[in-house]
Assembly symmetry: none
C-alpha cells in the first residue's frame, strides 16, 4: 500500500539550479510524495548548508543526489522524459497538463525509468534541454502571474504523479485506501432513530399531528446527508430520551 | 478563460503561522493559481521583510491580507470551510483527497464564499479549529515522511482547485446547471445554533455541566458533515425552543 514501487522508476532532474535553498526544498517535496532519485545537472551551489536546512527530514534524498555535467547524462537509462515549462513555446512539442503528463509517464514507468525535468529559476529549460524531453508539461497558472517557485513546481508534479500512482494501485487491488473504518449506521438503525425522533417531536408539539410528514421530511434529508454513524445514532437517541424525560442536573 | 471569477469566492486562511517566510511563499503560491483573498489568524510575525521577499511578485496579495484574532472571524460570511490535515485523526470528520475537496468546495463557491484553512507548521490545525471546518482534506503523502512544508500544501490545494475550476469552465460557462440554489448557513448561523444546542442539552441534563465539551464535539462533527442549510438551522432551533418549552398539542 505505501511502497508504491513505481515511483522508484521516476527520477527528478533539476537543471542548473541557482539557489541551493530550492534544491533542498525540492528534495523535501520529493520525499513527501515518495520519490527518492534525485539528479542535479550543474547546480551552482551543491552541497550547501542552505540546501541541507531546507531539505528538513529529506537529507537522505539530498545526500544521495547524483550530480552530472549534462542533462543527457542525467537521463541515461530513461525511456521517457517530461520537461516542465512555465510558458507556451513555439515548438512542436506536445504540451499537456501535469495530470495528463503523469498519466502518460506512469504508463511507461511501469516497466522502464522515466524522468521529470525542471529548468533554471530564471528561464526554465533551454531549447537544447527540451530536445532531450519527449513531452512538455505546463502547470496551468494564472496568466497574470505564472511564476511558480521551482520547488513548488516539483511539489505539484510529484503530487500529481503520486495521486495517479495511487489510483492505478487502487484499481489494481480493488481497495479504496481513503476509506476509514468507521461503522456507519444500518438502514434499520436509522429508521428506528427517525421513528424515535418523530415521536419526540410530536410530544413536544413541534410537528403538527394532523400533518407531521411535511417538516419531518426536511429533517430526514438533513440526517441522510450526514451519513450517520452507529455511535452517533446512540448519541442522538440519548438526546431524544432526555427531551421527553429530562434528567436532574444533580445526578452528575 | 483567465478570469476564473469563482476563485474570488475562495479565501485562504493560515492559522498561527510561525515563519514569516511561509506566509510570503503562500501568497506567491496563491497568486500563481489565481487566488487573492488571504487571511492570517494570529500570525507570529507579520508584516515581516522575509514574508515580503518570498512573496516575490505577489506582494499585493500579502499587503491585502486580513489579520484576525480568531479563526471564526476569518470565516465570517463563509458557507463552507475545508481544513487541511497532515494526519489521520480519531474523529468522525470526513477526510478526503484535495481533489475531492476541491470538487465539493467549488460546488458551493459558485454561489457563496468558502475557505481553505491551514494550521501551524508544527502541529497543524487544533481540534477547536477543526470544529470550525465542515470537511477535512489530506494530501496523500508518503507515510514514511509526510511533512509537507505549509506553503507547499497551499500550492497543492490551490493547484487542485484551479484545475477543477478550469475543468468546470471548459464544460460550460462555469455554472453547474444541475446545482440547486440552496442557501447554506453561514459560519455565524451555525455557531449560534451550536450555542443554542449546547444550552438546551445542558438544560435537559444530556451534557455533563462539568465537562460539556466531550460529547458535544461529536455532535458538532455530525452537523458539520451535513453542511446545514439556512432553513435547516431554523428548523433545528425551532426544535430546541420547544424542547425547553413544549407547546400544547391542543393548539393545532
Amino acid at each position: 500500500m505505501n511502497s508504491l514501487n513505481i515511483l522508484n522508476n521516476i527520477r527528478i532532474v533539476l537543471c542548473a539550479t541557482s539557489h541551493p535553498g530550492n534544491i533542498g526544498s525540492a528534495a523535501r517535496a520529493m520525499k513527501t510524495m515518495g520519490f527518492q532519485h534525485f539528479y542535479l545537472v550543474t547546480p551552482q551551489h551543491y552541497p550547501d548548508p542552505q540546501a541541507t536546512a531546507l531539505a528538513a527530514g529529506a537529507t537522505d534524498v539530498l545526500d544521495n543526489a547524483i550530480v552530472t555535467s549534462t542533462l543527457s547524462e542525467a537521463l541515461v537509462g530513461c525511456a521517457f522524459a517530461i520537461g516542465l515549462s512555465a510558458r507556451k513555446r513555439n515548438l512542436s512539442h506536445e504540451i499537456v497538463t501535469p495530470r495528463i503528463a503523469a498519466q502518460q509517464g506512469l504508463q511507461i514507468a511501469q516497466t522502464q525509468p522515466i524522468a521529470l525535468v525542471f529548468g533554471t529559476e530564471m528561464s526554465g529549460l533551454s531549447n537544447a534541454e527540451l530536445d532531450c524531453c519527449q513531452l512538455l508539461a505546463m502547470i496551468p497558472a494564472n496568466p497574470e502571474y505564472s511564476s511558480l517557485n521551482m520547488a513548488m513546481a516539483v511539489q505539484v508534479m510529484c503530487y500529481e504523479t503520486r495521486m495517479q500512482a495511487l489510483e492505478i494501485e487502487a484499481q489494481g487491488n480493488g481497495k479504496d485506501e481513503g476509506a476509514d473504518a468507521i461503522e456507519l449506521a444500518t438502514n434499520e438503525d436509522v429508521e428506528r432513530f427517525y421513528a424515535h425522533l418523530e415521536e419526540t417531536l410530536l410530544h413536544i408539539g413541534y410537528l403538527n399531528p394532523a400533518a407531521p410528514k411535511k417538516l419531518f421530511e426536511r429533517l430526514r434529508r438533513l440526517y441522510a446527508r450526514a451519513r450517520l454513524e452507529k455511535e452517533e445514532i446512540n448519541l442522538l437517541r440519548g438526546i431524544l430520551t432526555l427531551t421527553v424525560t429530562p434528567k436532574k442536573h444533580t445526578k452528575y
